[in-house]
């Protein structure tokens, strides 16, 4: 895990899942790995943050109470095309996976997933290390 020198700022990640447990577990896991993390259970607040600030990666659930994750994904890509989006969902079907990719998702992870798997996915998209 010998990484590059610590010069660049920390990479930023936003997590959106209406299940608080997912946020509570992902946030410290990514912090531990050296990322800056903001986690939201409310999509309106999350969207507002995405419009304010640049995030290197967004991790979002697809099926949430009252919100369509697919819509959120589309909006993120409109506002910030270079933000990598990882979709996590408990209702993984081939159709939803295809649609996510069409809408610009970088990867699609079915719940439940291992912490190490989601960390690897994000490392892959952000170029291996949490600092660029």
């Amino acid at each position: 895990m010998n990484g590059p020198a610590d010069t660049a700022p920390r990479k930023r990640i936003l997590v959106l899942d209406d299940e608080p447990i997912v946020c509570k577990r992902l946030k410290p896991a990514f912090q531990k790995a050296g990322y800056e993390v903001e986690a939201f259970t409310d999509s309106v607040q999350a969207m507002a943050r995405v419009e304010q600030e640049h995030f290197d990666a967004v991790i979002t659930d697809l099926k949430m109470e009252g919100v369509d994750g697919m819509h959120f994904l589309t909006r993120v890509k409109e506002v910030s095309p270079d933000t990598a989006v990882v979709v996590i969902t408990g209702f993984a079907t081939l159709e939803t996976a295809k649609e996510s990719f069409r809408k610009g998702a970088f990867d699609f992870v079915a719940k439940p997933f291992k912490l190490s798997d989601i960390l690897d996915t994000v490392r892959r998209v952000l170029g291996g290390e949490s600092r660029g």
């Binding site: 895990m1 899942d17 912090q31 050296g34 990322y35 408990g90 291992k114 190490s116």
Partner: protein
Amino acid sequence: MSLLAGLKDALAFWRPRKPPVPFAVQFKRFQIILERNNRILELMADMGDKLGGEYVFDRQYILTACERLADLVFKLISDLSVLTQRKNVELFLAFERIQHQIQEELAGRHSFPNLSLTLPLEELNRDLSEEAGNKLANLGDIKNVLGLAVPDGFVITTKAFFDFLEHNRLPGLVEEGLDRWDGKDEKALEELSRDIRRRILQGEVPRPVLAQITAKLEALGTRHDLRQALFAVRSSAWGEDTEFSFAGQYESVLGVPARRIAEAYKQVLASAYSPEAWRYRLHRGYLENEMAMAVGCQILVDAETSGGLYTYVPLSLEREAVVINAAWGLGAPVVDGTAETDTYVLERATPHAVRSLDTARKETMLVAAPGGGTMLAPVEEGRRNLPCLSPERMERLTQAAMAIERYYKRPQDVEWSFDRRGDLYLLQARPLNIRPSEPDFCPLPGEAMREAEVVFSGRGTVAQQGVAVGRVHIVREDDDLSDFPYGAILVTRYTSPRFSRVMRKAQGILTDVGSVTGHMATLAREYRVPTVVNTGVATTALREGEEITLDATQNTVFRGAIRELCRFELSEAEVFEESGEYRLLRRLLKRIAPLNLVDPHSENFKPSACRTFHDITRWIHERSVEALIGLSESHWRGIQATPRRLVTDIPLGLTVIDAEGGLSAGEGVREVRAEEVSSVPLAALLAGVGDSGMWGTDPVSVDLGSFMSSVTRTFTAASAEPRTMGRNLAVVSREYMNLHLRLGYHFTIVDAYISNRINDNYIYFRFLGGVTDFIRRSRRARCIAEILERQDFRVDVHGDLVVARIKKLSLRRMRQKMLVLGGLISYTRQLDVRLSSDEDIALHAEEFLQRIAPLLEV
């Protein structure tokens, strides 16, 4: 079974009430049962895995898994009904019962409302925090899981609290009072508080509660002299000692004689309505119906020294430490800060070296007053300036406190006493919340992790998440565990439940081989020891004594100590094990996974005794294997598949019925050769019988005594199974074998399933019978048992009956076990004749193991 009964059974079968179902159909049904049985076990294991912490899951997962599981179990019962042609009403009722409990849990209602008014400490654990309050539930874990001493006693439950309020008509008064209160007028709140407390103190403890207190005191009276003993009567409210400490809000009454417990009880209850406690709750948004007060009644420790301990003082990383405050006598003045105390600072890292000692002059101490209550007494002149803990006691205390910290994954604030005999008692433990305020002061572990050398990562499976820093201690198979070093990380080749012995000492566990569904993984979760199994490399990649950091959450092992990781874990916003989803899944699994039906010979091995889905599954498995054996034994004539004679050099006299893919011989051929056996278990067994070279054609000299015995036995027990006389039978498929083998007078059953799916694999072996006298037969049984135990089987011996089981090993290792059984069948053919003394048992076991060894190396 008597000859007559056997004949009756055989005849009963031919009573043609219904046309018999073709055997192939029945066997197919049996395989479906096995298949479903395995899917259930896998799903249960999968749910259990989620408790390990490696996975992120949400409520939806829990709902879906429960639904799938119920569906599978229901279908399994239906399968059995088809196989045995019975309705299985009892099983369906058991299913409904369990399913109802699960639904109640999912709906947020505890399906097991514990209606006890009191509970003994030995029954308490975290799952009873609703009944016992958090403080006593924590003490239950400390005593019952961590094995640390807490003062003997019991808890008067929250149920008793509600009964007390109801009995004294208080809930209405509280409610009306709060309704009237405008939320601001402090005077009015104090007035209300005074009124409620007065009513509690003058109130009557309901008779059933008093009766229960008396009963618990009687039980304690068998262990303590209650005329002498004094009690500590302490609050244990909902929410107390959690993230809101409520520290000092509720009252404890010390030095209470047994006869005055009811009075002290009321005093503690009343303290729930003090203006301070009430305000504390109101400020933190507690609803009035979230107030419930259980009360612990524990024997007051005859304390020589007492005090408090913080496992973590949030100094900078280099300076993080354990701090102990101590004084002579009872601990109350230390905790409320009214006494001069010694302060000791120790290293958090093992072996907890003392960093500084600050000994105060201690003039007075709190002691129990004769006849009840407490009082201040002068400390003898000679002891005033002495430190009140020896280094040995400091270390013992720190080890205990660190065990509590590791379990709760939070720094702890611990209250403790050493009694006059030098025994340590834990009185209370509550989490200390540390929130690093300055990020620079407390660097994130990311940087440190990048610097560190990764020994291995992503190998094996996490059985229990968490972070551990410690020195590697490699344990070989036969190593003694009694000298396992405190705080080490256990590194070993195989998982084994015998490691439960060291789980209270080990910081973490790494194994080369093993599954997360095994017994050891369950124990690791129980003790919350960070554990990764099946890494493949742990014992070779790590050296004895080197310091490592095991991050069992991200499944990585680093060389050296990364203390930032430990600190990060201790300051995480929420401990995974405290999350609602974790607790729900854990409660659900209690209705699903424990196995109560362990002994098929027990009276309780029946459908109505099934308390979990696992029980139902187990019963059905046993019943369906029995049904299949019954079918193949008594029914083989009706079997549609062609029975073939197996032609081998060794005269086994074996008829093989191939249900599916077990033989490669063509249709209609009446004889098969060993090479044509494609059934994995049978092929391996035959290889063991033949290649071991142990069939032994040499005539065995039989002394006259055993010969005579064998003659008489020939006409008694040995002929009790007339139907299978001279006919050996195996029903096989590609992965399965059900073998009934009678050789001489030995009767062997082997039932085995061996495939690439480790979780499905099992071997069941049963051995019975023989010529000669009973003593020699039991010697042989013990010899077989010794051999099989050393080959990792779980073995039961009843007289001359040996039952051995093994399961969940890889295909390769299962085949090795079948080779061993094959060899054993050959070797033991006339073994009893040779075992003329007890010493011969070990000799022959050793000889066998040496002779079989070359076969297993291939």
